[in-house]
């Protein structure tokens, strides 16, 4: 082992204890041979478009995005006439935590039990790099996921993962990038009770944060949550990581806005079915919102008024809008279809692309390393033969941390096994 990587490992180990490690868990230096993707139309994820561009990768990082001749010695990937985007990011997904939904033995999506305060549940400790779901999403252009616990009032801590099957040691790029939870009728059958408990826990986490030693000496009053849960909320209170809250009813969204203001928190709202009804308030509070564009059913009274143009209306009001297939894992690849549906219902195209890349990264505080094509970002890059959101388009190449992945999954292998057996090709 080289001294440098030994040093890095020690460093990572040290930083793992701190709540808001800015480092990534893998060797992300720009070393070794360069790869130059040449000639494509590059959509950088922030809204900028470059024609006939050069994107150069080295190690796990992007080292150059621009025009002109590729660097000498770089391995050239001809992408003339193609479209290059950042890898898509799946927000608020259980990817990596579940294999078969109804088989409990394959599911680590939530800390079960009565207690709705589960902020200490750390998804990074449950991510399964052997999950067959990873390749299924990756070969359709999803390179990264905000792996999110579910259930309760505060569900747990979000793990930021790159979809690299078999990377047991470093699939989690950064653990604990956010705390996830939700508003609505989550406690004692009442949204008012839920909100009160959330405020109480945040207050107690703040109290605990400043009096840890007193707590350890048992010289503190009783607190509303377990020590691990209070600890997990520290970086949320310190504004180093966001609190990602699922909320659908307009009143719950307003409550989340109020909470963010009163407690001075960074909040991201997920779901927001009735978001369009309070779009101005969201815009004013500068709270990013991640929606699931196709969900237009009045599935409950909290979701009456669900509409396909929610994303477009939020954007028009000045809200930063992200797009996701929310709350599931097996088909987060359909985020491209969701973006298409949002566009078909009025969301500008570049906003939709930003909504599945840069917006998601920044909603989880990861934009320094993810979500756009720029020097210094992690080299998650997709080459598409045509419009990424069109249903007939599948990626031609997917780079994750600078490596071109095999475009195979358990699903394509089963497919090919039977195509061959039946002799239908």
């Amino acid at each position: 082992m080289r001294l440098a990587s030994l040093f890095l490992m020690v460093f990572v180990w040290l930083s793992a204890g701190s709540s808001a490690a800015a480092e990534l868990s893998f060797d992300d230096r720009s070393e070794g041979p360069r790869v130059a993707i040449v000639g494509a139309t590059v959509h950088d994820g922030t809204g900028a478009v470059l024609e006939d561009a050069v994107v150069e990768l080295q190690g796990a990082r992007i080292v150059r995005v621009g025009t002109g001749a590729p660097s000498a010695g770089a391995k050239i990937i001809d992408a003339k006439g193609k479209i290059v985007t950042p890898g898509l990011i799946a927000a608020s997904t259980t990817l990596g935590l579940v294999e078969i939904g109804m088989e409990g033995s394959t599911r680590d999506t939530s800390r079960n039990g009565e207690d709705p305060i589960r902020a200490g549940y750390d998804a990074s400790m449950a991510v399964n790099a052997n999950s067959t779901l990873l390749a299924v999403q990756a070969i359709d252009g999803v390179t990264t996921a905000a792996t999110t616990p579910q259930g309760g009032l505060l569900s747990g801590q979000v793990a930021w993962i790159d979809l690299l099957p078999g990377h047991h040691r470093d699939i989690v790029a950064r653990p604990r990038v956010a705390v996830a939870g939700g508003l609505g009728q989550r406690v004692a059958g009442s949204r008012a009770a839920a909100f009160a408990q959330l405020v109480e826990v945040l207050d107690d986490a703040r109290f605990y944060r400043s009096r840890k030693s007193a707590f350890d000496r048992r010289a503190s009053r009783d607190l509303a949550a377990h020590r691990l849960d209070l600890d997990a909320l520290g970086p949320v209170l310190g504004r180093t990581i966001p609190l990602v809250l699922e909320a659908h009813r307009a009143s719950d969204i307003l409550a989340a806005i109020e909470l963010a203001k009163a407690q001075s928190l960074r909040v991201t709202i997920v779901g927001a079915t009735q978001g369009w009804q309070v779009a101005d308030a969201l815009a004013e509070a500068k709270i990013p919102v991640i929606v699931h564009p196709s969900t237009n059913l009045p599935g409950s009274f909290d979701r009456v008024g669900a509409r396909l143009d929610n994303a477009a209306k939020l954007h028009a009001a000045g809200v930063t809008v992200g797009i996701a297939v929310l709350g599931e894992a097996h088909n987060v690849r359909n985020v491209t279809q969701e973006a298409g549906i949002a566009i078909a219902n009025g969301l500008p195209r570049e906003v939709a692309l930003r909504g599945v890349t840069h917006t998601i990264a920044s909603a989880y505080g990861m934009e320094a390393d993810y979500g756009s094509l720029a020097p210094g970002k992690v080299a998650n890059v997709v080459i598409w033969p045509a419009d990424p959101f069109e249903l007939s388009t599948v990626p031609e190449a997917v780079y994750i941390r600078g490596t071109s992945i095999a475009l195979r999954s358990r699903q394509t292998e089963l497919r090919d096994r039977y195509i061959e057996r039946l002799g239908v090709r």
Partner: protein
């Protein structure tokens, strides 16, 4: 796009008295017929879904709206989805706006035998199932293999295993065979002096006897290849036919056998993994079925999915191409129109754009296989039932008077 194998790059459709009278590259409009210029748009038959629970699992998903599974016993051939259908379900509007002109409403899959399905039109303004029923469509029977009946009844007296499932089917169809024999015998001898009173009527057995007689079409929720083949053997044993396997996540593994048996498969484009029997999926399922000469259908089982069956077909087509299987646009369209009509036994009257068929027609803003395309006009039997120029013209009673339910808030 006619779903008959013919696509006119520029075509005319003449609709009169609720029927399609002519389809051709160029028609002269007869006197008195109004002309709608849809240059640049695409016209297809109305979308047909073989698998929906709209009306029996209505939105909002209140407990009070749970009318799709009669979970009072695993064998319930006597119940009918028609009796649980709520015509004010707002999901009906959404399906119609998405170009769906026909949908089969099925009981759920908790039971081995879940009851009779009903084929409906998502018509505006229906006040009862009778206003919505597809006139002339045969009855269907819902049956379910695999995990669901096992799970629901595992601690309620069984079935506990797949063995129990199959035993349950056999017991029911054996009883129905005897019921049918008894009634046929009585009918044959009704005029005899000593004929006696007719045997007692049993509504459930009557339904199963209808299956044995071939009058009622079997729609069999079944995921795994081995179970589908087991059901084909069971149907053979009792002398009935299965019209369509539903969900059929592993249909591609037995595409040759399904083609040979003439049984259709209603599949999703890409749902998978929510339970063990849905693990071995491929997005190329429908494409492999088509390539093997079997009748493939894309179904929804979802009030969300039913709103973009065209898109689901597009994904399944793309997956075929990714696997080196060429699927024509017409074939992909048949997955959600003509083939679905066949599974419901209404292929003589709808499912394609052909003279004599019902004028169930959708005008799309563009290619229906594109994610960006939306419906512009939807016709059922020639009547305009959805118009993008006035999308909120028809709402079920549910949306009335709820602030912001359908329109803008102030």
């Amino acid at each position: 796009m006619t779903a008959t194998g013919v696509i006119y790059e520029r075509g005319d459709v003449l609709m009169r008295d609720g029927k399609i009278e002519a389809v051709a590259a160029k028609l002269d409009a007869p006197a008195g017929v109004s002309v709608l210029d849809v240059s640049g748009k695409t016209v297809t038959p109305g979308i047909i879904d073989t698998h929906s629970h709209i009306g029996v699992y209505a939105s909002p998903g209140w407990t009070a709206h749970s009318d799709g599974n009669e979970m009072s016993g695993p064998t319930k051939p006597e119940v009918r989805a028609a009796d649980g259908y709520w015509p004010q379900d707002p999901q009906i509007d959404l399906a119609r706006a998405a170009g769906v002109t026909t949908m089969q409403i099925l009981p759920g899959s908790a039971n081995l035998i879940g009851g009779r399905s009903v084929v409906v039109r998502p018509v505006p303004g229906a006040r009862s199932i009778d206003d919505a029923k597809f006139v002339g469509a045969p009855s269907g029977l819902k049956m379910a293999c695999g995990e669901n009946p096992k799970r629901v009844y595992g601690e309620k007296g069984g079935p506990v295993t797949r063995m129990g499932n199959m035993a349950g089917f056999r017991t029911a169809f054996q009883k129905a065979t005897e019921y049918r024999r008894k009634h046929e015998h009585h009918r044959a001898h009704a005029d005899d002096e000593d004929a006696g009173p007719p045997p007692e009527r049993d509504l459930g057995m009557e339904t199963l006897a209808g299956v044995l007689a071939g009058d009622i079409l079997v729609h069999n929720h079944c995921y795994r290849a081995d179970e589908m083949l087991g059901m084909l053997a069971l149907a053979d044993e009792f002398g009935f036919e299965i019209r369509s396997f539903h969900h059929a996540v592993e249909a591609y593994k037995i595409a040759d056998r399904l083609a040979e048996a003439g049984v259709s498969a209603s599949v999703w484009a890409d749902w998978w993994g929510f339970k063990a029997e849905a693990f071995d999926t491929t997005r190329a399922n429908a494409a492999i079925l088509s390539a093997a000469g079997a009748r493939a259908i894309i179904h929804s089982d979802s009030a969300q999915g039913i709103q973009r069956l065209n898109q689901e077909a597009a994904k399944a087509k793309a997956a075929g191409e990714r696997a080196g299987l060429n699927i024509s646009e017409d074939e992909a369209l048949r997955w959600v129109t003509a083939n679905a009509a066949w599974a419901l036994g209404i292929h003589e009257t709808t499912g394609t754009l052909e003279p004599g068929k019902m004028a169930d027609v959708v005008v799309w803003s563009g290619d229906p296989l594109s994610v960006y395309t939306r419906t512009e006009k939807v016709y059922m039997e020639g009547a305009l039932v959805f118009d993008r120029d006035d999308p909120d013209a028809h709402h079920t009673d549910f949306e009335v008077g709820i602030p912001s339910a359908a329109g803008d808030v102030q």
